[in-house]
Every structure is written in C-alpha cells, then in structure tokens.
C-alpha cells in the first residue's frame, strides 16, 4: 500500500502521458493491497482455498535456528557484494568461496583450496578468457592505482 501510494502521489505531478501507466497500475495495486489487508484483519479463514502454486520453504527446522541461518546467509551475500565492490570479481570470487567453505561449511583447508581453485579456473576460463567479459576493478585497486 505504501509503495502504491507513493507511486500515485509522485505520478500526479507529471504530464498526463507520463503519469497514465503508473496511475493505471498504482491505484489498482493500492485498492487490492487494501482489500487484502481488510481480509487479513476481518475476513474468515479460507480453509477451502488451495495454496498458491509456488515454492514452499522448509518447515522442519526450528524457527529460531531458521532465523539465525537466514540472517547468516544474508550476511554472507552482503559480504560478497561488498568484497566485489572493494576488490573486484577476480579477487572476490576465490576469497569468498574459500572463506565460506572454511568458516561456514567447515570444510578442511585442502578441499577448500581445491574447490576454490576449480571455481577460479571456471571464472577465469569461461568468463574472462572465452567470453571476454569486462570486470571492473575494485575500489581498493583504483584507490591505490594498481
């Protein structure tokens, strides 16, 4: 509802052509989200309705443990993005994989090193050598002029 309201209020300041589609989608979204909120607060239990055809998350893990693991993996993902920003993909990929395997997955250092080498070879061989994709240098490299 917040997103739809923001979109509709912002779009009002634009010309008709520019605002038409955001309003045509934002207003129904606001109404539908409001209707859903009303149903959740005051509606009856819909036990006969089938579930959404969607993926189902695992439910057999203790909720507190699940929350910890969710926070953990999100932190690792955010850390990987930060690492890419700081040192670029060519350094971030092996560094991330090695540290994840060692610290999170608790794999021995020999296996971690081997798997890291495989990953780096895939990255370099496929993305850099074969497909010749350009990867930006990291913030630290550009700061130090490396």
């Amino acid at each position: 509802m917040v997103v739809a309201a923001y979109a509709a209020i912002t779009a009002r300041r634009w010309s008709f052509k520019t605002s038409l589609f955001p309003l045509a989608t934002g207003i129904p979204l606001f109404v539908l989200a409001g209707a859903q909120l009303m149903l959740e607060l005051f509606g009856r239990d819909e036990t006969t309705s089938g579930p959404a055809v969607e993926l189902e998350l695992s439910t057999h893990v203790d909720p507190a443990l699940a929350r910890t693991r969710v926070a953990g993996i999100l932190t690792w993902i955010a850390g990987f993005i930060l690492l890419v920003f700081l040192v670029g993909f060519p350094v971030a990929v092996p560094a991330f994989i090695f540290s994840f395997l060692m610290l999170q997955s608790r794999v021995g250092w020999r296996l971690s090193l081997s798997l890291t080498a495989v990953a780096w070879l895939c990255f370099y061989g496929l993305f850099q050598w074969l497909l010749n994709l350009p990867f930006e240098e990291g913030f630290i490299q550009s700061l130090l002029g490396i």
């Binding site: 959404a52 693991r69 969710v70 990867f135």
Partner: protein
C-alpha cells in the same frame, strides 16, 4: 518445395555447416546453463564471427546456439532453482521441488524430452506454416498484442490460489510488477520516473538481476536454512532410471506436451509477445488441466506436468518466432531481432525472397532446429545422471558456487555493481514473498511485460482512441481473459459443493 526441403537438409549436413552448428551448440549449452548470460546476448556477441561464413553456415551456427540454450536453461532451473535463461523461470516452480524430493533425474529427463518434442513441433510448424501464416500475423496489431499480454498475466494470476485472497494477491503482484517496470525513462516522452536521483535507474531495472534475484536467492536461503543437500537426506535415487521415467512421463502426458507446444508456437508467431509469456501461459494451461482442486494442489510441490508444459513451450516458441522473422522481417522476439542482424550481414532480405529464391536456406533453419535439439538431448541424456548427482552434494559446498554464478550472471547484464545490489534487494523481496505466501510468477510476468504493455497501450490509444476495445480479436481475448480469471472461483465453488456433499 520437396526439393527445397531436401536441399535444406543437405546444406546443414555439409561438414563445415555441421561443424559450426556443433560449435554453436557447445556454446549454447554453456550459455543456457549459466544464469544471467542470455541466449540473446550471446547471439549478439557471436554476430561478428559470421562475416566469413556462408548463409547456411551462419544460420546453422547461430540457430544451433540459440535453440540449445533454450533447452539447457531448464537444467539449472531444476537442479538449483536458478533459471539458466529468462525463459526457463517457470520450470523452477515444479522442477526444483522435484529435485528437493530426490527426483532430479526424472525432472531432467522430462524437461529434455518435452523440449525435444516442442522443438520438433516448432520446426514442423515453421516448415508448414510460412505460406499460410501471413493473415494471422497481419491481423495482430498493438490492441491485440496488448490484450494477449494482459491475458498472459491473468493466466499466471489464476495460479495464485483459489478464492478471493489468492486472486487478490496474484493481481496485486501483477500490478506491482507492472508498476516497477515504469522505473526509468518513459519511452514516449523520455521523462524520468521514480529514478530517485540515481543515474543507474534512468534505464529502468534490468530484467536479469531482478529475475535471478527473485528466484535464486530464496532458494539459496532455504538451502542454507535446511542445512542439507538439495535433495535433503534422501538416499540417491537410481538416476538413470529417474531419467528414463521422466522420458516416459513425456509420453504419458503427450497431449499436454503437444498442447503446450502449440501454445509456444502460437505465442512465438506473434511479434513482440516474447518467450516470457509462452512459458507461463503453458504452465498455467498445465495447472488448469488438473482434474480437480486436490490435483491442482500438487503443482508447485513437484508435479511433473509443471516441468513438461514450460519445457515444451520454450522450444516450440523458437520455431514460431522464426516465422514472422523470416517471412516478414518482423522479429518474433528479442533474440530474433538480433538474428535479423545476421540476415543483413549475409546480404539477405527477410520476406518473399526467403520463401522463393532462398527457400532451401529457410528449410535449412528448420532442419537446424530439429537436428540441434535431437543431438543435444542425446548428449544430455549421457550427462544427466552426473548432473543430477549435484543435488546430493552437501548444501554448504554448493551454495558458494551457486552464489558466484548468480552474481557474476547478474553483473554481466550491465557491468555495474549496482546490479548486484538489485539482485540482493529483489532476492530478499522474493524470500519475503514466499514466506508470506505472495506469488512471484505474476510479479515477474508483470515486470517483464510492463514496458511492452505500456507501449501497446499508448499506440492503441493514439491510433484508435478507445475504439480498439471493439476489435473482434480484442473482444475474443477479453472474453478469454475473463474466463481465465473466473475459472479459479468456479473451481473453488465446485470443491466446496463436493465437500458439502461429502459431509452429508
């Protein structure tokens, strides 16, 4: 015409053209597996290499690559829940749960065989339909394409669950996807919308980081939460037997596969409708073919029909897209637009000449689609057992590699770090959506089609005012859309009646 058909086959079987087709297939195999690197982008990268080739060699190379990518994109969708191609997203919905249930081999076998059947049907239709498809293509203008896109979104919304709540959530997500597609420059006037002062958002949100994030990240989070392999604690299945079972499933549900192939061909023929629509409409058709509400509940939890439908449509669409591209020079989809560049490089003009003077070359494209897919399926069948073993490896070993592929793939969209942040944000959003029961497919389809829908709406209103609403084809599509929206309510009413009868 029969001579041209045989000459077309002989063109493909010449050693140089055949070798180049195999090289293209190898490239397409890898590209299809890698999330984020799309078949269309790779087609563009390969265009400079065709300058020194003959037309038959060039199209064997390009089409070999493109048609195989559509097949192998399903592999990562099933094994890791990460769509290898944008057109393989629907396969994730049932393919990945099958892998989690220890049925990866079966899902892969079904995906490959249905892809092959779809590809062959698409090739056959391409061969037969070119002389007769002209009235169909010319009868679909912007109003009709607009209604088709809206019908596609309605089809997907009907998957959101029975009852008012399910439908409201589905439509809300569809509208959210449409709304987010408006970020960036408005196509008609160039005015900036919702850019928040960020130059990155001037071009809008790119499809690849959004799609990869919203599908892949929730799966990775769930895998981390479970702390097991993708297939859980199950004992490894007999993978080859699973693959054979998947192949048999294709023939057990043969008419579903044929119908979904027809959906793919039809949507492929319509210029601008895109592969994003075909896979979801086919999936929606597979769901709606369920016998009753209880049968329908199996979808999303690893129903083989949820893999067969999109698998067939993704590949049959290729043949369909070639029809307007070759016959009229109107690209059937984004990748076909790039293929048109190939025509120009070869000094060919799509149109009547391709159906008369160069008919053998046109038929060589048909044969390429068929032969490339047959060879790919045969090769993949040899590898599938090994690929399916990946689902039994501990999650802690798989996660860093999948994350690496996901984020490198997202980065290749625009080469900007901001793409990684977008992937993370939409990944987190996708996780919350799954957690609280808000469906992702309507959102994705709304986002994919948003710009097209707005353009078609603008052209329709500018050209026809509001009289386009009374066009015959538009009226038929409005009726069909209404039927699709009403169908879940009808099903729910029936299931309530049945429960009421059962109780008494």
């Amino acid at each position: 015409m029969f001579d041209a058909l045989i000459n077309g086959l002989l063109l493909v079987l010449q050693w140089k053209a055949f070798s180049l087709m195999m090289v293209g297939m190898g490239l397409g195999f890898v590209v299809g597996l890698l999330p984020g690197i799309g078949g269309a982008a790779t087609l563009a990268l390969m265009l400079p290499f065709i300058f020194k080739m003959s037309p038959a060699e060039a199209f064997a190379f390009l089409l070999g690559m493109h048609s195989v990518a559509a097949t192998t994109g399903d592999i990562t969708s099933i094994l890791f829940g990460v769509p290898g191609e944008a057109i393989s997203a629907a396969t994730v919905v049932d393919g990945y749960p099958m892998a989690k249930n220890g049925e990866a081999g079966r899902a892969l076998g079904a995906a490959l065989m249905s892809s092959l059947v779809g590809a062959l049907i698409g090739a056959l239709v391409l061969a037969l339909a070119i002389p007769i498809v002209r009235p169909l293509v010319l009868s679909f203008g912007s109003p009709e394409l607009l209604m088709l896109a809206l019908m596609g979104i309605a089809c997907i919304t009907s998957l959101s669950g029975l009852g008012a709540r399910g439908q409201i959530r589905g439509f809300a997500m569809g509208f959210l996807g449409l709304l987010l597609s408006t970020i960036g420059q408005e196509r008609q006037s160039g005015a900036l919308r919702f850019d928040m002062g960020l130059m990155y958002l001037w071009d809008g949100l790119d499809l690849v980081p959004v799609l990869v994030g919203i599908f892949a990240i929730p799966e990775i989070i769930d895998l981390a939460v479970r702390g097991t392999a993708i297939a859980g604690e199950r004992q490894p299945e007999n993978l080859q037997a699973g693959v054979v079972e998947g192949i048999k499933d294709t023939f057990r549900h043969f008419w579903l596969v044929v119908r979904c192939s027809a959906v793919g061909v039809f949507i492929g023929i319509l210029p601008g409708a895109g592969g994003g629509v075909a896979q979801w409409v086919a999936y929606a058709h597979a769901v709606q073919s369920a016998k009753d509400a209880k049968d329908r509940e199996r979808f999303g939890k690893g129903d083989i029909r949820g893999v067969l439908g999109p698998g067939a449509a993704n590949n049959s669409k290729e043949g369909g897209e070639l029809i307007p591209t070759v016959a009229f020079g109107v690209p059937g989809g984004g990748a076909m637009g790039i293929l048109l560049g190939g025509f120009l490089i070869m000094g060919l003009t799509p149109g009547p000449d391709m159906l008369t003077k160069h008919l053998a070359l046109t038929f060589s494209m048909v044969w390429t689609l068929a032969i490339a897919n047959i060879i790919t399926v045969l090769l993949c069948l040899a590898l599938l057992g090994h690929l399916a073993k990946l689902t039994y490896i501990r999650g802690g070993l798989i996660i860093p590699f999948v994350l690496f592929l996901v984020f490198v793939g997202s980065y290749t969209a625009n080469g900007q770090i901001a793409d990684l942040i977008v992937t993370f944000i939409f990944g987190s959003l996708g996780y919350l959506m799954v957690l609280f029961g808000w469906p992702r497919p309507p959102f994705v389809l709304g986002f994919v089609l948003g710009k097209l829908v707005e353009t078609y709406l603008f052209i329709s209103v500018s050209r026809y005012g509001f009289s386009w609403l009374s066009h015959p084809v538009v009226l038929v599509l409005i009726f069909l859309t209404g039927l699709v929206i009403a169908y879940p309510f009808i099903q729910e009413r029936r299931s309530r009646k049945r429960e009421g009868v059962g109780a008494t």
